[in-house]
């Protein structure tokens, strides 16, 4: 109420002119549209599993069955080491944040193109669209995470105080997904090749992250350097916080966090730079 009164007193002034070169992120404006962000996230959650038979169970089926396959082939047959915990939970603890990430980049890559008619018809900070897509994935994450807790109970693993770091690790996964999503979604507007590249990229990235194997296979300093892939930090962090794998990944997480921030900011600036062409090209 307060806000509306103030708008009628001193009217906001909008200046419209061509932008050149690198532009500011206008994060304050994104904040002003937080209600739209909320509604778009809520819409994505709401319609995600509409008209599916299994509904939200899909959020669990995907990581769970990947874990089963991994346990059979990598755990049983290939006898890949698993840092001293049973292989199934070793893989699943990594697959939960990984699924969140890969779903996030896949869906945000297509988010702008999928919202073409919104972009062509209404103004709002376009950043809201990929952000909402990534945020809506948190619900799936939570569902898959509940299964992870059940598995820990089954294997008799009790979490340690390190669990307190989990929200930060999730944030790291979110930042990585968003940074990647911003790059991909903005590029997808111009080059529809991205749509076909993303599944391949996601698969490639998965094998480049320690999902099926532990990063402890690498010796230092290579293991720390491996953290340049931010998902390494996320995955090893999850295992450390939940399963108490003995190799504390402190240095990896620092490297990963820096890499994720670089990804996020470069993605955001690239996105803002391309934003002016979205309505004309999409």
């Amino acid at each position: 109420m307060n806000r509306r009164n103030s708008t009628t007193v001193d009217l906001p002034t909008i200046i419209i002119k061509p932008s050149r070169g690198w532009v500011s992120l206008k994060l304050r404006e994104v904040w002003e549209y937080h209600e739209l962000l909320y509604f778009l996230t809520w819409r994505d959650i709401k319609v995600r599993y509409k008209q599916t038979v299994l509904g939200a169970a899909w959020a669990i089926i995907q990581p769970f069955f990947t874990m089963v396959v991994f346990s059979l082939f990598f755990g049983r047959l290939a006898k890949i080491p698993s840092d001293g915990v049973p292989y199934p939970i070793f893989a699943y603890a990594a697959l939960v944040p990984w699924t969140f990430f890969s779903q996030g980049i896949t869906q945000s890559a297509n988010s702008l193109v999928g919202s073409a008619n919104l972009i062509k018809k209404v103004y709002f900070p376009r950043l809201v669209i990929p952000i909402a897509t990534i945020l809506s994935g948190v619900v799936d994450f939570v569902l898959a995470f509940i299964v992870l807790l059940l598995m820990m109970f089954y294997y008799g693993i009790s979490p340690t105080v390190n669990v307190l770091f989990l929200p930060l690790l999730l944030l790291l996964a979110l930042v990585t997904a968003l940074g990647t999503g911003l790059w991909l979604s903005a590029m997808n507007v111009q080059f529809r090749d991205i749509r076909y590249t993303v599944p391949f990229l996601a698969q490639f990235w998965m094998f480049a992250s320690p999902i099926a194997y532990p990063s402890s296979l690498l010796s230092e300093p290579w293991r720390t350097l491996y953290g340049i892939n931010p998902m390494v930090g996320v995955v090893e962090g999850f295992r450390w916080a939940l399963l108490k794998t003995d190799t504390a990944p402190g240095a990896i997480i620092i490297v990963s966090s820096l890499a994720a921030l670089v990804l996020l900011f470069s993605g955001a600036f690239y996105f803002r730079r391309m934003e002016k062409t979205f309505a004309d090209v999409v």
Partner: protein, 430 residues
């Protein structure tokens, strides 16, 4: 209250023709283009073309150096032909797209109605869509809460508000969408051709709502092809053509100049070459003509005179069941009537063999009002598919008849001017 709310200076917008192709360009194309572009440029220069001139035909200016000012509370109509730059202007003012050059200043919260129903999600219920669409249009949650009942009542869909909108009829969706949009309370409202949807009674309701917005002292920019609506709602009209302002002034004047410009009459058209004639692979026109029942297209048509609208066309597909439908539009943009050969399928009810045909619509005297009329034509196949349509095949003036007793001054009101039978009886001598 003469504060300037919108100030535009030297606004231009450039589009590259073929932007559609650009949108789907692949890495391969982009790469090969990037590699070959310098060579092509050099080649062009060697051939003596200036680089600017060489690229010229690929560029269009949707807006060229537009400057204007709009004051608080003004209701301004924007008219012009398709592609004149009307929508581009609104899109720039609403920040959907950026100008290429120039500067604009907007004071106040702006609401845009560029297309009704943008952002409706088919799987969500009416209630959910009201919130979603409202927030997309820039309403705050509390605002939507407060107006929710009003929005639903205006749209007349109380019973179905918790049904997913995919089960709505298209009319219901449009009503709900317009209702949400019209409850937006910005200081400036930009409206683009939203009235082209919905049935007549709903359109009237929409116009009423827009009138309310205007009366409340808010500023409205209204793009429409509906000149009647423009004249009714707007005091000022800006006429755009090819991205430039042709005229900016009092609405009656601008609209009538606009009509004069585009209403040179065209009473006969012939296309001798079948390959370039208007039409498509199924049917092509050879001749279209308006003429009095006993006369040629050079003769005047008066209000009293029966006349014919005639088409000659090639049917190019054997056994095709096609029907021509015409619409007569008055100079005010009102459809006087539409007509199809219902009684007699175009050729005694038989499917047409390949060949050249002529069909004519006989229009009786004492039906149309005086003034300019346009003929729109549609060719419908199997009663279902519109295989061809054209908006400006013919246009003609209907003149006042000289033998008519002039008992009135000026024109008679109405889209048509039929002579109707009246009876008067004496019921009781007082």
């Amino acid at each position: 209250m003469n504060n300037i709310v919108i100030k535009v200076e030297g606004l231009s917008k450039r589009y590259h023709i073929g932007a559609k192709h650009k949108a789907y360009q692949t890495f391969r194309e982009a790469l090969s283009d990037a590699v070959t572009a310098p060579f092509r440029k050099v080649a062009g220069l060697l051939r003596g073309q200036a680089t600017a001139a060489a690229g010229m035909h690929e560029i269009i200016w949707a807006l060229k150096d537009i400057s204007l000012q709009i004051n608080t509370g003004e209701v301004v109509g924007i008219i012009g032909r398709n592609g004149a730059g009307k929508t581009t202007l609104l899109k720039i003012l609403s920040r959907i797209t950026e100008p290429t050059e120039g500067y604009a200043e907007v004071h106040g919260r702006m609401g845009t109605l560029l297309e009704v129903g943008t952002g409706f999600h088919q799987e969500l219920t009416g209630r959910e869509n009201v919130y979603l669409n409202g927030s997309i249009l820039g309403m705050r949650r509390g605002e939507i809460d407060n107006k929710f009942d009003e929005i639903v009542a205006f749209a007349e869909i109380e019973k179905f508000i918790d049904t997913p909108v995919k089960f709505y009829s298209s009319g219901m969706q449009v009503r709900l969408a317009f209702s949400v949009a019209s409850h937006l309370e910005p200081e400036i409202l930009l409206v683009d051709e939203v009235l082209a949807v919905g049935d007549a009674s709903f359109q009237r309701k929409c116009l009423g709502k827009m009138g309310d917005v205007a009366e409340a002292g808010r500023t409205v920019l209204f793009v429409s092809h509906n000149l009647v609506a423009i004249q009714r709602l707007c005091s000022r009209v800006i006429w755009l053509d090819e991205g430039e302002i042709v005229e900016d002034g009092q609405s009656g004047e601008v609209v009538s100049n606009y009509l004069k410009m585009y209403s040179s009459t065209q009473k006969e058209q012939k296309w001798s070459d079948m390959n370039t004639a208007p039409g498509n692979d199924s049917v092509r026109l050879r001749r279209a003509c308006v003429h009095p029942e006993d006369g040629t297209s050079d003769d005047q048509i008066t209000v009293r005179m029966p006349f014919l609208i005639e088409f000659e066309f090639w049917n190019l597909v054997p056994d095709s069941n096609i029907r021509i439908n015409i619409m007569l539009i008055t100079e005010h943009g009102i459809t006087a009537f539409s007509s199809s050969p219902y009684q007699e399928m175009i050729w005694n009810g038989n499917p047409l063999p390949i060949g050249l045909f002529r069909s004519a619509c006989h229009i009786p005297g004492d039906l149309l009002n005086a003034g300019l009329h346009r003929v729109m034509i549609r060719v419908v196949k199997n009663n279902r598919y519109i295989i061809y349509r054209s908006e400006d095949i013919l246009s003609f003036d209907v003149h006042d008849s000289s033998d008519e007793q002039v008992t009135y001054f000026g024109g008679r009101a109405g889209a048509v001017r039929p002579i109707l039978k009246w009876t008067t009886e004496l019921l009781d001598r007082g």
